[in-house]
């Protein structure tokens, strides 16, 4: 069946920080650009980021981009690509200043410069001591940034398609990407959106886990789309557990609490991070803190009736600091944990937060795959930026504040690269005759299935499986069993049915389509984790407790076709400075 089509120079899927930073660059250059989003742009999950944007402005303590680069490489447990990390850290001050010029309401110092707070894993002089690098708007930095970017896009007259869900990539026989098929939720219409450049900025997929800080919309749509189109996913075993999710609720409590001086306590009131990370203590990197918390709980030093959480204490900061710098945290603690942090500590547990892996790209945001002997051959017409991409700046573990930075730097870089490639002068390639077939078949199956498995139940089973088999500590038995279960779940996903067959704003259909994406991310994660027999960053294997650079200093690539794995080398060569060779990682 032939779909109605619309044409643009550039099409962006996702209106979070990365998508809107890219769209801004394109719209201000005068290109015809459309941004597709499942939700109104300011509802994208960037809105929930709290603590800050990392940039070596040096406003409050001496700093340099080289130190930031070193911290990021060390944080990544040497799995990050050093060219991309250098690029990001060098660009950081510029993208933060731009955001300020756009109107971002950063907190200020008495001299009028941007306020910066300390954050985990960020240090002065190559690990010597903590540094103030996180540029913050109280504890609502993501909210302030997302609204500022939306506002600036309104000024640039960017065209938004709000409450549209992208379904599948359109690829022709040459392998070039020519756009996407998409569902307009309000009408139920399916269209082909043609573009000379398609940028995926669909964010994370934390909803594959049962306990997650992520929003409901974080279902890995871009990852599912590329996996179905034959593009591999990179480093999917690396998922960050944020140390401080509210116990039971999963809601995020920013690392900025510890940046401002908050500390973690076990059941005997001990500041246990002093034992695990004598130098940076509570501000060690997230993988280290999460593992330490898990260890404390495992060894019986957890708090509460079931000894299953630790406490985040901040009352010693005093009401002024809490009300001024951490007002939304106080709101969350009161609402979701029944405690006022001015008086009492918050019960917290490590909670799934961020996907370090994703769609493999280069520093221009171009999607790259192994082809014809090259590990990084460009897929024409396809870009990915932000959390859905793996460029890779975060490697095996992301530092706090580097996520918002990643969105700004690589959203902008992809926009600039596309502007430089002179799209308006090029013609649209003809769409293949079967452009909409795969999407229409998925929809037809849902329309016709009279009975089958419940989407909610299968989704919950995926989440329970990931939580049980792919947690903070992993081992061969757990993972092998996890792979078997996830593959069984894939078969169940294909047998789901929905009662709602209507067209108008059918959210049951949207959730069923999202499950198609979640399962791809779950498979990629479990299979990649099972295969990697070492511990590095967020992948902690109790059966292989050490990092093994001789065998595993390499990126994983998972292919949906055949559930197959391949590997590619880590780029240890920066753009302009000396490389930082792997060494032991302590905080």
């Amino acid at each position: 069946m032939k779909l109605a089509t619309r044409r643009f120079d550039a099409l962006i899927v996702g209106a979070g920080g990365a998508g809107m930073r890219a769209s801004l660059q394109l719209a201000e250059a005068g290109l015809s650009v459309a941004v597709l989003s499942k939700v109104f742009p300011t509802r994208s999950h960037t809105v929930a980021a709290q603590g800050g944007i990392g940039a070596s402005l040096g406003n409050m303590s001496e700093d340099s981009w080289l130190w930031h680069m070193y911290d990021t490489i060390k944080g990544s447990d040497w799995l990050g690509d050093q060219d991309a990390i250098e690029y990001m850290c060098r660009m950081a001050p510029q993208v933060v200043f731009e955001l300020e010029h756009f109107g971002m309401p950063f907190d200020r110092n008495p001299d009028g410069t941007i306020y910066q707070r300390p954050f985990g894993g960020h240090s002065m002089n190559f690990g010597e001591k903590s540094v103030r690098r996180a540029c913050a708007s109280a504890d609502r930095t993501g909210h302030a940034m997302l609204h500022t970017l939306y506002q600036r896009n309104v000024r640039a007259r960017t065209q938004f398609f709000v409450e549209w869900m992208a379904l599948d990539l359109i690829r022709d026989a040459d392998g070039d990407v020519l756009g996407v098929t998409a569902l307009e939720m309000e009408t139920g219409d399916v269209l082909a959106l043609e573009a000379k450049a398609t940028i995926l900025a669909t964010g994370g997929a934390g909803r594959i886990f049962a306990a997650s800080t992520n929003a409901f919309i974080n279902t890995g749509d871009g990852l599912g789309m590329v996996a179905r189109a034959g593009v591999p996913l990179e480093d999917m075993e690396f998922w960050q557990f944020h140390p401080t999710g509210v116990a039971g609720a999963g809601v995020l409590i920013t690392e900025g609490v510890r940046g401002e001086g908050g500390i973690l306590l076990n059941s005997s009131g001990e500041r246990f991070m002093e034992r695990y990370a004598p130098n940076l203590k509570d501000l060690a990197s997230r993988d280290v803190v999460s593992r330490s918390m898990d260890q404390e709980i495992k060894e019986g030093r957890g708090c509460g009736p079931n000894k299953d959480y630790v406490l985040l204490k901040m009352d010693h900061l005093g009401p002024d600091v809490i009300i001024k710098r951490l007002p939304a945290i106080r709101e969350i603690a009161i609402k979701f944990a029944n405690v006022d942090p001015i008086k009492e500590p918050i019960p917290v547990v490590p909670t799934i937060h961020y996907m370090m892996g994703g769609i493999p790209t280069n520093i221009h945001g171009q999607v790259v795959v192994p082809m014809g002997g090259s590990p990084a051959s460009v897929v024409e017409g396809l870009y990915a930026v932000g959390e859905c991409a793996c460029v890779s700046v975060h490697g095996a573990n992301r530092l706090g504040t580097n996520s918002l930075l990643d969105l700004l730097v690589f959203g902008r870089a992809a926009g600039d690269f596309i502007v430089g490639s002179n799209l308006p002068a090029r013609a649209h390639k003809p769409l293949p005759a079967d452009a909409g077939d795969a999407s229409l078949a998925r929809l037809a199956r849902l329309d016709s299935a009279a009975s089958g498995e419940s989407v909610a139940e299968v989704g919950n089973e995926v989440r329970r499986t990931m939580q049980a088999h792919c947690g903070v500590f992993r081992n061969q038995q757990l993972l092998a069993e996890g792979v078997r279960k996830v593959m069984e779940l894939e078969a169940r996903v294909r047998r789901t049915a929905i009662a709602d067959k209507s067209r108008t704003f059918n959210t049951a259909r949207v959730e069923a389509l999202e499950l198609d994406n979640l399962i791809e991310v779950a498979k990629a994660t479990m299979v990649s984790a099972e295969a990697r027999r070492e511990s590095r960053g967020a992948q902690a294997r109790s059966d292989y407790p050490d990092r093994d650079d001789a065998n595993w200093l390499k990126h994983t690539l998972w292919f949906r076709d055949g559930n197959r794995l391949d590997y590619k080398p880590v780029n240890l060569k920066p753009l302009s400075v000396e490389a930082f060779p792997p060494k032991a990682r302590t905080y």
Binding site: F40, A48, F102, G103, P105, F216, I217, K335, F505, T507
Partner: protein, 231 residues
Amino acid sequence: MKFRIYRYDPEKDAKPRLQEYDVALDPHDRMLLDALIRVKAVDDTLAFRRSCREGVCGSDAMNINGKNGLACITNLKTLKEPVELRPLPGLPVIRDLIVDMSQFFKQYHSVTPYLVNDVPPPERERLQSPADRDALDGLYECILCACCSTACPSFWWNPDKFVGPAGLLQAYRFLADSRDLAANERLDNLEDPYRLFRCHTIMNCTDVCPKGLNPAYAIERIKDLLVKRTV
């Protein structure tokens, strides 16, 4: 727990109806959104928006037992049964609890909702004193959920002409920003019997804001600025 939920599917229903649900909750279910997800698990035809589930994205605004609020930060313990849920008042209903927010966003877009400052910026940040930055507190935190504007009788009567509390709060957010250079144009844009002056200080906006913001105060400040400009 018992619910009565507004249902309307334009493809099937000639007019809206209230449907009763009685769902078993899990002891961990804390907020109204948790209960709505239980309802949806037994009846997937119920449509509502939701995303962050922590009160920052503004998706799940609805009318809860007669008062506008966000489902994800409304504690179930505070609700009298049966809990009656309706779409936000005053906007066209697309389906069930989902309203068409075009008019709301049109008003937001009408206030030039971005910083205007055409002076070439310095290489680094523009400086702003902590006091000037403090002037933005209580303004920039708006999540555009529309609880306020859809609780405002003046917005119900004139949604096409009255900017409404959410839009006016944002208008003041830029008037209050020491970096913005378009105060006069912004005030010109609002000096109108409808756009600003349909506000009759009923204060429903401030009463329902789930973020504890005070649009009524911002509206008063805009009126003050207009008075100051004329004297």
